[in-house]
Amino acid sequence: MTSKSDLPQGTLDLLILKIAALGPVHGYAIAQRLQQVSRDVVQVPQGSLYPALHRLENRGLLAADWKETETGREAKFYRLTRKGRAQLETETASWQRLAEAVGLILRLSEGGAE
């Protein structure tokens, strides 16, 4: 519980898009998945999940339908639109570039210390 970290600004949208890319999914499942996949490292404040979903829907990156869950209840399922997929690709690429660059810099400073 102590090793939970806050998400950097803007990454929540990227993570939501990635999860929605795997197939239609409702809000609660997104929250679950984020927590499981990140092995509880990423703590998503559930309160900010829904505004983010609505914002992405409003921007046309996600589309939503009401469907039945496997338990037979009605839920709002979000799926990635074509525009959302393109956005996901560019953001993933730029995220990886950034992560590599940050990693390089960190390794460099370690080498200097040795």
Binding site: Y28, Q46, Y50, A75
Partner: protein, 880 residues
């Protein structure tokens, strides 16, 4: 989804949001139960994880991006609800606004129709007016009407303009029907197609009609067609006798067609005019209009005309040296009504401003009593901009509703207003409510809404909520007092401006109507006279015809004296000429001017002129005898200083040799009672009609009027006189028949009309300002009731309390009057420039009008003051 879509489906979306969040909570709870938590604890943890449901929902709504719309809708309903809660307030505010906006909209509708709308011809923005321009100026400026030969040259040589010409005419129509004088126009064959006019019946003029010797054809107005041909389709091809000449009717114009001001009934081809002036390059009498050809620009046309001008100046140096041609966009000719209209719009805007100040102070009073409510809402998390927006929505709603009512008022009011206009309003047929007017009304409503809503809105509290929430309303009142006084002061100042303006106009009217016109206005009838067209052939017959007319009129029972005159006092039309007191006349344009008037001997008796020196004319002053003139006292002073004028010689521009002054008469206000003092030419000179040289006689005969002094009511003499003049040939008519009293009255019509309207506006302003003062004081005193209670408990008398309240209002009143006086002085200068006969704002105007205002304002403040004085001290203190 579009935003309106979202707005319409708001309910559904809210429901879905609830459902989504509920699903989340239930799933989470179920999972936690599955992990072994007990149900209550599971629900608690799930809720904790999600956070406050209202905050989440609010953030989701924000994320949808239609927040402002939701808010607007909410504010709108809220505003409607608050207004409905106080129907009295809403009614007063709406009525005030409707009056203000309605009156302003009426004025704008008239301005729009008369001044702003383009001409009612096809594609008016492509029409241009051509004029001749000289590189030297006369007293009438450097712009000239065209000569016919110059027009023909321009038309032939211009490749970027289609050019047409026309001029004013008039004459007697004798067949079919009774002889009557009608206005006419001579037009070139290109004019009607150029304006895009298609005839109601028949055909227009063709180029072959538009030349000397062509068979005479005429196009008649729709009105004349109805009057004289009963609208029969067979009118085409029938004869019409105009000025003694038979024409064939070729076409009928559409109803409502106008060319250059007043109605014209008879249109003849310009090219058929036999006058020698048509070949004269120095006879400037043609109006030239043109249309830019497709693709051509005004500057290209201008350059082309300049080229033509230069060529003609070389070819005809005598007439065309230093003369060129200019083109400018064609605008409606509406004379000088513009200044009156803008003046009235200005006045009516002041009324609207007062109305706004009134509503603002009403709103402010409410805003202050709602201060705690607003502070509470800030404390609960409302943003300041949100509160300001809410207040503005409310005032915009008021403004727009007031605007709708105002437009309804304007729609009803604009026709009576136009009918009521003194004389005839030019382009009156163009005055109606169109999109421009609606746009104006919308703008005025929103601007007023903003104006009266801003002050209360900006008072929305932000900081220091705590004292407001804690305090009783009493302590808050003091802080709004300055703003309230501000409104009262500006209302009073505006009312002062209108009152003083009305006072100035009233004083001016009084002064003008007491002026000596210089003639005896009672029992004088004037009329223009058209001689039988047959007599115009030679000068001998013209002179006999006039003698005959005067004789016939003199024999009508009730007639005391009859005279001919070319310039009737106080009627339009004038004939200023240059004069000199030595044979070496100064160059044209530098000479002093005198209003020359040819009359017959009985004129002195008809008009009741005062003969100051020498004699007036008699029958011995005729062609061949010594040329004589009579001058007025102004001319005597101006030309001869203190010397004895009788017997002196004058050289005047009438082709007569030196003339001898034989008498001096009193000054006559030819330019109207109001206009004469400021007229450019005030000197007057009379010469005998019998001595008008032959070469001018025919032209003069077209201009002469008769003036008749009657022993009985002049109106009763009109028919007998008409009958007497008609003569054997039955084609001599009197037209433009007026009594001199009516002409004198009309010369003040503009001032009278302005006085009436300013009087109404000032009354309205006084009423509104009084209501405003009453409202503000009633409010302020009601806030001070506990204070009064304390004072009275400590021994203050009712009188002291009344005085306390009145002192407060007196302060505002005097400040308002002070500001108003300086504004009124400035407004007075504007009035003086725009209205003939106005005098400087005298202290007496202020002395009369300001007490009126102060008394009204004090009366309005007395009611709340008295109410305050009747406060029961114990009740008042308990209010705490």
């Amino acid at each position: 989804m579009n935003w309106w879509h979202r707005l319409l489906r708001r309910g559904q979306m809210e429901e879905q949001l609830n459902k989504e969040l509920r699903f989340h909570l239930e799933q989470h709870t179920a999972d936690l139960i599955a992990l072994g938590h007990d149900p209550g604890e599971a629900l608690r943890q799930a809720r904790l994880a999600l956070g406050g449901p209202e905050q989440v929902k609010e953030q989701c709504r924000d994320a949808r991006g239609t927040r402002w719309l939701d808010d607007l809708w909410q504010d709108f309903r809220y505003a409607l609800r608050t207004l409905r809660q106080k129907p009295g307030f809403a009614a007063v505010a709406l009525l005030t606004l409707a009056l203000g906006i309605g009156a302003t909209t009426v004025m704008f509708t008239v301005i729009n129709g008369v001044l702003l709308k383009p001409l009612s011809y096809a594609q008016p923005d492509r029409l241009v007016l051509l004029q001749e321009q000289t590189d030297w100026s006369t007293q009438w400026g450097d712009l000239w009407a065209f000569t016919y030969p110059n027009y023909l040259d321009c038309r032939r040589e211009s490749s970027s303009l289609d050019i047409a010409a026309w001029r004013f005419t008039g004459g007697t129509v004798t067949e079919p029907g009774e002889a009557d004088y009608v206005n006419g126009r001579q037009v070139s064959s290109e004019l009607l197609p150029l304006l895009g006019v298609s005839l109601a019946r028949g055909r227009g003029f063709r180029p072959e009609d538009d030349r000397l010797g062509a068979p005479p054809v005429v196009i008649i107005s729709y009105g004349l067609w109805q009057r004289r041909f009963a609208g029969s389709p067979e009118a085409i091809g029938r004869p019409l006798v105009f000025d003694g000449k038979p024409y064939t009717v070729a076409g009928v114009l559409p109803a409502g067609f106008r060319l250059g001001g007043d109605d014209a009934d008879v249109f003849t081809p310009l090219g058929q005019d036999t006058s020698p002036n048509m070949q004269n390059r120095e006879a400037h009498r043609i109006r030239v209009w043109a249309r830019l050809k497709p693709g051509a620009t005004l500057s290209a046309a201008q350059a082309e005309l300049a080229l033509v001008g230069r060529r003609l100046a070389e070819q005809y140096p005598k007439s065309n040296k230093g003369r060129t041609f200019i083109a400018q966009p064609l605008r409606p000719d509406v004379g000088d009504v513009g200044s009156t209209l803008w003046l009235l719009l200005g006045a009516v805007s002041l009324v609207l401003l007062i109305a706004c100040a009134n509503v603002a102070s009403l709103l402010l009073a409410r805003a202050v009593s709602r201060e705690r409510e607003l502070a509470m809402r800030v404390a609960l998390g409302a943003g300041r901009s949100r509160l300001v927006r809410q207040c503005l929505t409310e005032s915009a709603l008021l403004g727009l509703t007031g605007g709708v009512l105002g437009v309804l008022l304007a729609a009803i009011g604009v026709r009576p207003f136009v009918t009521f206009w003194p004389g005839s309003l030019p382009r009156a047929e163009e005055v109606w409510l169109d999109w421009r007017v609606l746009l104006f009304a919308l703008g005025a409503s929103l601007a007023s809404g903003l104006l009266f809503g801003l002050a209360p809105a900006l008072r929305a509290p932000v900081r220091n909520l705590e004292p407001i929430l804690r305090a009783g309303a009493r302590t808050v009142a003091g802080s709004s007092r300055r703003l309230h006084s501000g409104f009262v002061i500006s209302e009073i100042a505006l009312a002062v401006v209108l009152l003083v303006a009305a006072g100035m106009l009233g004083r001016t009217m009084l002064r003008l109507s007491l002026l000596d016109p210089g003639v005896n206005l009672r029992n004088v009838l004037t009329a223009r006279t058209a001689l039988s067209p047959a007599t115009l052939a030679n000068t001998g017959r013209i002179r006999t015809a006039w003698d005959d007319i005067l004789d016939r009129m003199r024999r009508v029972p009730g007639v005391e004296a009859v005279a001919m005159v070319d310039t009737v006092p106080m009627r339009e039309g004038n004939n200023p000429i240059g004069y000199a007191t030595t044979p070496a006349a100064p160059p044209a344009g530098k000479q002093p001017l005198v209003l020359a008037n040819s009359v017959t001997p009985e004129y002195l008796k008809v008009m009741g002129l005062r003969l100051l020196e020498g004699r007036f004319f008699d029958d011995q002053d005729r062609m061949g005898s010594q040329s004589v003139v009579v001058i007025d006292e102004v001319m005597a002073r101006q030309a001869f200083g203190g010397q004895e004028p009788v017997g002196k010689h004058l050289w005047i521009d009438l082709g007569m040799d030196p003339v001898t002054v034989v008498g001096v008469v009193g000054h006559v206000r030819y330019w109207g009672l109001a206009g004469d003092d400021q007229a450019r030419v005030r000197a007057q000179l009379y010469y005998p009609f019998a001595q008008v040289p032959d070469k001018y006689l025919r032209r003069w005969s077209e201009l002469m009027s008769v003036a008749v002094r009657t022993g009985i009511e002049p109106e009763n003499m009109i028919e007998p006189l008409r009958h007497a003049v008609r003569a054997v040939t039955n084609d001599q008519v009197l037209y433009e028949v007026n009594t001199l009293e009516k002409l004198a009255g009309d010369s003040l019509a503009r001032q009278r009309f302005l006085l009436l309207l300013f009087g109404i506006f000032a009354g309205l302003a006084l009423l509104l300002a009084s209501i405003g003062i009453y409202g503000v004081l009633a409010y302020l005193t009601s806030r001070r009731v506990p204070e009064f209670g304390v004072r009275m408990a400590l021994g203050a008398s009712a009188r002291d309390v009344v005085w306390l309240v009145l002192r407060q209002s007196l302060g505002m009143i005097f400040l308002g009057v002070g500001v108003g006086i300086s504004a009124a002085l400035a407004a007075g200068r504007v009035l003086r420039r725009l209205v003939e006969g106005m005098q400087a704002t005298g202290p007496s105007t202020f002395a009369i009008m300001i007490p009126v205002l102060v008394v009204a304002a004090l009366f309005a403040s007395f009611l709340p003051a008295r109410r305050a004085s009747r406060v029961e001290p114990m009740n008042a203190l308990r209010q705490e």
